[in-house]
Amino acid sequence: MSFELYITQQIINAVSLGSLYALVAIGLSMIFGILRMTNFAHGDMMMVGGFSTLVLQNLGLGFGWAVVGGIGVGALAGVIVERTAYRPVRGAPEVTLLLTSLAVTYILENLGILIFTSSAQNFPLPDWMDSAFQLYNGQITFTQINLLTVALTGVALTALGWFVTRTDIGLGMRAAAEDMGAAHLVGLDVNRLIVVAFAIASGFAGLAGVLWAAQSGVVEPYMGFTPLLKAFVAAIIGGFGSIAGALLGGYLLGALEVFIVAFFPSEISPYRDAIVFCLLIAFLLFRPNGLLKRTQEVKL
């Protein structure tokens, strides 16, 4: 296989993976931007989205509507979690927020196990999605799912972009992310902004969950675990708190992962995750604001 074709295939893989990471990282950054909290439970919104879509399909809904429903349930779950677990501890030291989110993730994952059992469940896809496009005599493959991933991610990002630049609530969110106190002072309803932020962030995660399930063919309670960690890396690389940064970080990370496996010798590629996290640590030490953000963070 020629080198150009090999690279093209890997680029397709990278874009597909990067879209998923970007979707999750954006939500993480949004929540951090407004609340200064690292929401470990964010990954489980993927699981909620994935399982909801599965349940809705089993109840008879068509795939398209089931996906919409899944995203909706994901958004709703985020709002519920915020209201019951995070709002009572708002304003508490960072450690408390972190621990609360750890507890939430523990509960959600075990609820998933209790309801759905811990084994993977099949995630059915409509037949038209099951085919793949082969180019150049099969040396390049991309599937309908890849296309759908990129398409839906594009739609979501465009919608988000419109939202944060053209609507009052969106602008309010950005204001609150810049300076919560000032936003309060000018009369913005901060509680509402936070709820909206969680809804959007969790909805995005739910969408990511559906796409992830479509790519892997299964849903299982721990499915959000690894993507969450990767999303952290992506968000931090791009600039924690910045939506554009999360987007950039997501695609960069997707590309990095795919290329490590594709081009490094097979003794090194299993250490892919270790390399990714070393990169994270390096960023935290030398460029904690990531690539895009400019505000000062506390560092010795």
Binding site: M37, T38, A85, P88, V89, A92, E94, V95, T96, L98, L99, T100, L102, A103, V104, Y106, I107, N110, L111, I113, L114, F225, L229, F232, V233, I236, P270, Y271, D273, A274, F277, C278, L280, I281, L284, L285, P288, E297, V298, K299, L300
Partner: protein
């Protein structure tokens, strides 16, 4: 209390615990001895985690990384030659030739963790807040990936087995007591005050001349030593383990023990271990289904973890400082309580 009375009290407690731990297998059945042994090991791990997380305010999520390193390192060192040949056939000659008994291998595990903590902590302890948490999380993941992939030394993700079952209740209790004594002395010394100063306000601490990085680093390193020792004890208790056992599930378990008991108190850490361990055991047995009167509750596997998570959230909301807050149980306080009881 006078020094003499204090000393006598300490000796008395040690003697009682010593006799108890040695005679326990004869007094109660093995199941309870096991629960106590695991509690002692967990207490060591939680208390040592509390040094960084509670006393210096650096919430490290990477503690289990040291525990895992300790377990594997001491495990490899204490494998018999036959076991080494059977399970780690490709081990390089210089390690294959080393063989240490339980105590020395435990010490080596602790010492190696000190070095590792210095290497890791020097860069990471500059960070604060959630950044250091995420960074130490990265450390945990890196350790996990290395353990899984360095399969020549660790059998990779498969079960590492054949480790001699050396951890008995006397050993676990002895190490725990040592840990408690050493840490209590340090935490309530000028060094410990420096730790707490750094936790409360970095700038104020610097203003009075405390150098923040070495202060945080010392807590991190000391904690890592006892984590490595605890890991060795745990490894020699289970006899077989795998990298997945030193990852998130165990991390979460330790964190819940620390937080429920009280992050800022050594007694709190121990108390948290006791509460969570007993609660988990009870819930685990209840999970199998039980009868209240004539209502049969069916088996609900997985419910105990949910209950634990809910309890943690409630604590975060209503009492984030944990059961003990920052109080300690000391002989003085016990004596005072007894006095009060007598007077009333």
């Amino acid at each position: 209390m006078s020094r003499m009375q204090s000393l006598l009290a300490v000796v008395a407690v040690l003697a009682v615990m010593g006799v108890f731990s040695v005679s326990a297998p004869a007094l109660m059945n093995d199941y309870f001895v096991r629960i106590l042994t695991v509690m002692c090991i967990n207490a060591m791990l939680v208390v040592s985690m509390g040094l960084a997380n509670g006393f210096t305010g650096v919430f490290s999520l990477g503690h289990m990384g040291f525990v895992g390193v300790g377990a594997y390192l001491s495990g490899v060192l204490s494998l018999s030659d036959a076991a080494k040949a059977a399970y780690l056939p490709d081990l390089p000659a210089w390690i294959a030739g080393l063989h240490l008994a339980f105590f020395p291998s435990t010490l080596v595990a602790g010492l190696v963790c000190i070095v590792l903590a210095l290497l890791v902590g020097a860069p990471l302890m500059r960070l604060s807040g959630h950044f250091v948490s995420v960074a130490t999380l990265g450390f945990l993941i890196i350790v996990n990936v290395v353990l899984i992939n360095a399969d020549v030394y660790t059998r990779g993700a498969r079960t590492f087995t054949g480790v001699p079952l050396e951890t008995t209740l006397p050993w676990a209790m002895a190490w725990l007591l040592l840990t408690l004594v050493v840490l209590a002395r340090i935490v309530y010394s000028p060094k410990g005050r420096a730790w707490r100063a750094v936790r409360e306000d970095i700038i104020a601490a610097q203003a009075i001349g405390i150098d923040v990085l070495p202060t945080r680093l010392s807590a991190f390193v000391i904690g890592a030593f006892f984590a490595g020792v605890g890991g060795s004890l745990y490894g020699h208790y289970l006899g077989s383990f795998s990298p997945a056992g030193f990852y998130f599930a165990y991390t979460f378990s330790l964190i819940s023990m620390l937080v429920i008991g009280g992050m800022r108190s050594i007694t709190g850490a121990v108390l948290g271990v006791v509460i969570v361990s007993l609660l988990s055991e009870l819930l685990r047995n209840l999970e199998r289904g039980f009868d209240i009167g004539f209502v049969a509750v069916p088996p609900l596997y997985g419910a105990s973890q949910i209950v634990l998570g809910i309890i943690l959230i409630l604590i975060m909301i209503f009492r984030p400082s944990g059961v003990m807050g920052d109080l300690e149980l000391s002989f003085g306080r016990i004596a005072a309580l007894l006095h009060k009881g007598r007077k009333e």
